[in-house]
């Protein structure tokens, strides 16, 4: 079911990218897709009744399937940071797009021809 949520979110993100005329919305949609993919990845590592993969005094030992899968979580950490890099660069590009074309709405932008 978490899978379903994340897939629907991906779909909404794609829909937003295709319909919206405002470039800022594109960044927002991309961010939605990023979050959705991250949820999807963590979901692939979930084990029912598994514990968080950190050894503390309360969780002394190891046996398979007593923990959730740590690898997807490690991958998501990387993916989140990569998403931030992409979004921040996109936002700074938009600032300059606005300065150069005087709008960030695809329909009102000046000087964008074929």
């Amino acid at each position: 079911m978490v899978y379903g949520i994340s897939i629907i979110l991906i779909g909404i993100g794609i829909y937003g990218l295709m319909t919206q005329k405002n470039l800022f919305k594109h960044i927002v949609s991309l961010s939605i897709i990023d979050t959705a993919v991250n949820i999807f990845i963590v979901a692939t590592g979930y084990v029912s009744n598994g514990k968080a993969p950190i050894y503390t005094r309360a969780l002394p030992g190891f046996s398979p399937n007593s923990f959730v899968d740590p690898l997807p979580q490690a991958l998501v950490l990387t993916a989140i940071v990569i998403g931030v890099g992409t979004l921040a660069l996109g936002a700074s590009l938009l600032v300059r797009v606005k300065e150069k074309h005087s709008s960030i709405n695809v329909e009102n932008m000046k000087g964008v021809g074929e």
Partner: protein, 80 residues
């Protein structure tokens, strides 16, 4: 737990639709930030505290701040 996940998922879908369709860009950014915050709950429900902390600090906090500052710099976005 399962009911909570359904509620969180429903809220995320609503937030996503709102973020995509909102008339004002500011609302859209706020909705996106809310979506990120609810996803933190999902990460905790899936026993991923590391991811939850990172998403809360980076995804919900910093990204929103960066987008808001750029939005402020652009003086409102441009489609109203």
């Amino acid at each position: 737990m399962s009911a909570l996940i359904w509620i969180a998922g429903g809220m995320m879908v609503v937030a996503a639709v709102f973020a995509v369709e909102a008339k004002r860009i500011l609302d859209s950014v706020i909705a996106m930030s809310a979506l990120s915050l609810i996803s933190v709950f999902l990460f905790i429900a899936m026993r991923a505290p590391d991811v939850a902390i990172t998403e809360a600090a980076v995804g919900a906090g910093l990204v929103t701040a960066v987008l808001l500052v750029t939005l402020f710099r652009m003086k409102g976005g441009g489609d109203e």
